[in-house]
Symmetry: C2
Subunit: 213 residues, 2 copies
C-alpha cells in the first residue's frame, strides 16, 4: 500500500511550492522573477526552468501592470489559451485570445505559404489596447512578432518566448533576446504551451496578490 501524504486539496499547491523552493535553493532571480520560475517548475517538475528563464529587467513588472490595466493575452496555441487563468484575467477586464483555429487565418497562411502562427501574430498586432504575447509553440510566431516590433508595426507590452522544439526554436529565442522591448524567454529547446500559460498565470496571481478568486 502506498503511503499518501494527507494534504487538503486547497493546500497541495502551497506544499508543492515549498518543496520547489527548498530543492531549488538560492538563485540569482529577483523577488518578481522567482514566482514565475517556481510556477514553471510547478507545471513541469523540471528544474531546468530554475536556470533557463531569462527576463529583461522590467519584464515582470510590466506584465503585471498590463494585466492590472486589462490587457489582452494572445497565445499561439489553444492549449496555452486553455491554461491561462481567464477568471483572474477577466477580473481585471482583460481577455485571452488565440487566432489559431480561425479558418481565415488558416486560409491566409495556406495562400501565403507561411504558418498559421505567423499570421496569428499579424492579427495580434492589429488588436487595440495593451497586448501580452504568450508564445509556447511556434518559433515562426515569435520570429514574425519580432520582425514586426523591429519594423515599428507592433508594440506588445511583453513577449513571452517559450516555443519548444528542435527546428529554429533556439534561433527564434535568440532573435527575441536581440529585439527591443520587454521579454521573458525560456532559453534553449525547452518551453511549451504549459510553460507559456504558467508564466502568464504567475503574473496573474501576482496582480491579484496571490488570490485566485
Amino acid at each position: 500500500m502506498e503511503k499518501l501524504q494527507h494534504v487538503a486539496p486547497g493546500d497541495i499547491e502551497t506544499r508543492s511550492m515549498e518543496i520547489i523552493q527548498s530543492e531549488l535553493g538560492p538563485t540569482e532571480y529577483g523577488a518578481l522573477e522567482l514566482p514565475v520560475v517556481k510556477r514553471c517548475i510547478h507545471t513541469s517538475a523540471d528544474f531546468d526552468y530554475g536556470k533557463n528563464l531569462a527576463f529583461t529587467p522590467e519584464a515582470v513588472r510590466t506584465g503585471v501592470e498590463a494585466i492590472k490595466a486589462g490587457c489582452t493575452i494572445v497565445t499561439d496555441t489553444q492549449m496555452a489559451f486553455s491554461g491561462v487563468n481567464k477568471r483572474v484575467l477577466e477580473k481585471f477586464g482583460g481577455r485571452a485570445v488565440c487566432f489559431m483555429s480561425d479558418p481565415e487565418v488558416a486560409a491566409e497562411a495556406k495562400e501565403r505559404g507561411i504558418t498559421r502562427a505567423a499570421v496569428s501574430m499579424e492579427r495580434a498586432a492589429k488588436l487595440p489596447g495593451r497586448v501580452i504575447l504568450a508564445i509556447g509553440n511556434a518559433p515562426t510566431a515569435l520570429i514574425r512578432a519580432c520582425e514586426m516590433v523591429e519594423a515599428g508595426e507592433f508594440a506588445p507590452e511583453l513577449i513571452i518566448g517559450a516555443p519548444v522544439g528542435f527546428v529554429n526554436v533556439v534561433e527564434s529565442k535568440n532573435i527575441l533576446e536581440k529585439t527591443p522591448g520587454e521579454h521573458i524567454v525560456a532559453r534553449g529547446r525547452k518551453g511549451g504551451s504549459n510553460i507559456a500559460a504558467a508564466i502568464c498565470n504567475a503574473m496573474l496571481y501576482m496582480a491579484s496578490d496571490n488570490r485566485r478568486e
Copy 2:
C-alpha cells in the same frame, strides 16, 4: 543575424522527429511504444521521456484499437482536452471530454471535501462505451480511478498516468502500476497536460496511419 533553417511548415515535425530519433539513439522501447516516447519528447524537448515512460505490454495496441472503435478520451484538465487532436478522434466516431469545469462537479467536490478531479473520474466511470483516461495533472484523479478499477466499478481500456508535481504524484503512479489493466505511466514527478495529450495524439496518429486529416 540568426541563421534559420529553411524548412517548409509541413516538414517541421518530420525534421523534428528525425532529430529526436537521432539524439535518442537506441532504446528498449518497441515499435509501438517508440512513437509515444518521441511525441512526448517532441512536446517538451525533454529527453527524460526517453527513459521514464513505462508501458504494459498491450497498452499501446489496446489504446489504438479503442480509438479505432470510437472511444471517449477523458482528460483531467481543460489543457489536456485542448491538446488532444479531436479532429482525428472524431474521424473514428470518438470524442474527448473533461468534467473539470462542470459546476455540479465543483459543488459535489466541495461538499465531499475531495478534489474536482476525483469526482471527474466518478463521472468517467459512468460513461457508456470504451474509455481512455488521460490524466496529466491530478494524482487524486489517478488514485480515485485506480480505486474504482480495484473495486470492479470501472474498466477503462487504458489509463494514461502522467500527473506532474510534488505531492502524492509519484505515489499515485506507483498505485497505477499495481492496478490491473493497461496503462502508460510517466514515472517520477514529471508529466503534465501536454504529456497526457501527446500520448493520446501519438496513438491517434498511429490509428490513422500517421495521416492527420
